[in-house]
């Protein structure tokens, strides 16, 4: 039977009632938080400069098909997109994506070393590898377009290589992702920025971070439960449309220890449509001109993208692997095995999902 929407609707209504009952008390807590934030001296605000007429936006994104244990062989696919949009006197565009199959034992593991146990590339680790590939592709893109034109390199999501499972992986696996992938890609971006007019930012829509809220002495001043509060709530009340907050360093000890000159900093940006969190590496955060450029160019990208940076949106569109394509990939794998005279053994569970007998 399909989803019982009747039952869902009743529960959603109840959720709405519950939220309203809580909102009054929350407003008081929020006002206290805003007051404390203003008193902290960190509540600086910056207006945007007007964006340059001529500039270029670069963005990459990825999508993947994870190793599926119901498939006849272990293999995975990562599709990485590259997008270049050029504005001003010589408008131009480049859209594309490059898929890569991961099939050998070496490709399907992370942190392979003589005396260390490697980790299978699947699940959250696959997502981390994809992030590494996305940033590497952005570095390639920046090198391919390293000329005199002002360029903004954009990453969708965080500049911190992280997932909830990240710290459960052995240290050599984490270091392998960082030292052999993520940080070298950021090194390449920085090298381009040293020679050409490149700035780099990561854009997080609807951020749930609490870094700034956690810095406020709320516990000393209130009795209420404020664990629901996120940074966005505070900045919604302190920034005007178009403004950005001051820049804060990431509080992660792991970032401080390992990210070198790429240590993540962030600011909040109030676009016409939403409150976004923008992350930049230290070398951008410390250069006022590069930092201000991320601000004005991101606002322009959001305006052109009707609320969301257009280059990131197009990168997503180029990278996404649809349901039909996933099915075609599975068929392709099965056919390739059959052509080689290899046994195509698919799990009965996967088969029953496809056939859906009545």
């Amino acid at each position: 039977m399909p989803l019982d929407l009747h039952s869902v609707s009743a529960q959603v209504h109840a959720m709405g009632d519950d939220l309203r009952a809580h909102s009054a008390g929350r407003l008081d807590l929020l006002e206290k938080a805003v007051e404390l934030f203003k008193a902290s001296g960190s509540a600086t605000r910056f207006s945007p400069a007007s964006p340059p007429n001529d500039y270029r936006a670069l963005a990459t994104d990825g999508s993947h098909i994870d190793v599926d244990r119901h498939m006849p062989v272990p293999c995975a696919l990562i599709n990485i997109s590259k997008v270049m949009l050029q504005y001003g006197s010589a408008p131009g565009v480049r859209l594309g994506s490059q898929p890569r199959l991961y099939a050998t034992a070496e490709e399907l593991s992370v942190g392979t070393q003589a005396d260390q146990e490697s980790q299978p590339l699947t699940g959250a680790l696959m997502g981390l590898r994809r992030t590494v590939e996305e940033v590497t592709a952005l570095a390639e893109l920046a090198e391919e377009h390293a000329d005199t034109l002002l360029t903004l390199g954009l990453i969708d999501g965080s500049l911190i290589l992280w997932s909830p499972e990240f710290h459960s992986y052995p240290e050599h696996v984490r270091r392998s992702l960082l030292d052999d992938g993520f940080l070298p890609a950021l090194d390449r971006l920085k090298a381009v920025a040293e020679r050409k007019r490149l700035t780099v930012a990561a854009y997080i829509s609807m951020p749930r971070s609490t870094t700034v809220v956690n810095m406020l002495p709320l516990q000393e001043h209130t009795q209420g439960d404020y664990r629901w509060m996120v940074d966005r709530d505070v900045f919604e009340r302190t920034l005007a449309v178009g403004e950005r907050s001051g820049t804060f360093p990431s509080t992660s000890a792991y970032v401080r220890e390992h990210y070198r000159e790429h240590a993540t900093h962030f600011y909040y940006l109030k676009t016409e449509q939403e409150m976004a969190r923008v992350e930049v590496p230290a070398w951008v955060a410390e250069d006022e001109a590069l930092l201000a450029l991320t601000h004005s160019l991101l606002l322009d990208q959001c305006r052109k993208g009707l609320g969301y940076p257009v280059a990131i949106m197009e990168a997503h569109e180029q990278a996404v692997i649809g349901g039909h394509e996933r099915e075609l990939f599975r068929q392709m794998v099965e056919e390739a095995l059959a052509r080689q005279g290899l046994d195509v053994y698919t799990s009965e569970k996967a088969r029953s999902k496809r056939l859906r007998w009545v």
Binding site: Y87, G92, V93, L95, K304, L306, V310, E314, E317
Partner: protein
């Protein structure tokens, strides 16, 4: 009579066949808004060319799941919308459909009007025909019923547009139009309303 061989130098490549059937084919243009005019004569294929008359031009989103949205409220003019959104060039596509009207005879010197034994292939290159080729093709108008078979009044507009373009490819365009008018009068002798509509459109 002009032959294919001595008229092809004047042509430009517009796009490729992406849908094909015995009576018509659809072409995806290489350039956004790069379709020839309604009623234009186009040629497809190299080894066994087929002629078509453009009967419909469509510009739409490349991805059927992504609809275009209004973007120009704050822009000074329409061109600025495209300058501010360079990705549109790659996300929109222009297609056109052509009614098949003839093909060169096996010797390559004359024209066969009507449907070929096989339609053009998918990915066949499609060229715009230059005036000498249009003139050569329009020497005989017995293919017109194939175009007129389409739904009126659009089909009548396509015929009139073809004849106007063919006329301008002739030195004596008036004489060509007189000849064409007589031929259409014979074809549509039982449908005076359509005949008047086409003749009226030709005079316009």
């Amino acid at each position: 009579m002009n032959t294919i061989a001595n008229t092809t130098n004047y042509t430009t490549r517009l796009g490729e066949v992406v849908e094909t059937s015995s009576a018509a084919f659809t072409v995806q243009c290489y350039d956004l808004y790069g379709a020839p005019a309604l009623g234009a004569l186009v040629r497809t294929g190299r080894d066994s060319p087929v002629y078509g008359v453009v009967r419909n031009v469509v510009t739409s989103s490349m991805d059927p799941g992504r609809r275009p949205v209004a973007r120009g409220q704050d822009e000074a003019d329409e061109e600025a919308v495209y300058r501010s959104n360079p990705q549109l060039d790659k996300l929109l596509r222009t297609d056109f459909q052509a009614t098949i009207v003839g093909y060169p005879d096996s010797v390559g010197t004359g024209m066969r009007y009507g449907l070929p034994s096989q339609p053009p292939r998918i990915h066949a290159f499609v060229h715009a025909c230059a005036p000498p080729e249009v003139r050569a093709f329009a020497e005989d108008l017995r293919f017109l019923p194939l175009v007129l078979a389409g739904a009126a009044p659009e089909a009548d507009e396509v015929v009139a547009a073809f004849l106007r373009q063919a006329a301008s490819a002739h030195d004596d365009s008036q004489a060509f139009l007189m000849k064409a008018g007589r031929q259409i009068a014979r074809l549509l002798s039982r449908d005076l309303q359509r005949l008047n509509a086409i003749l009226g459109s030709l005079r316009a």
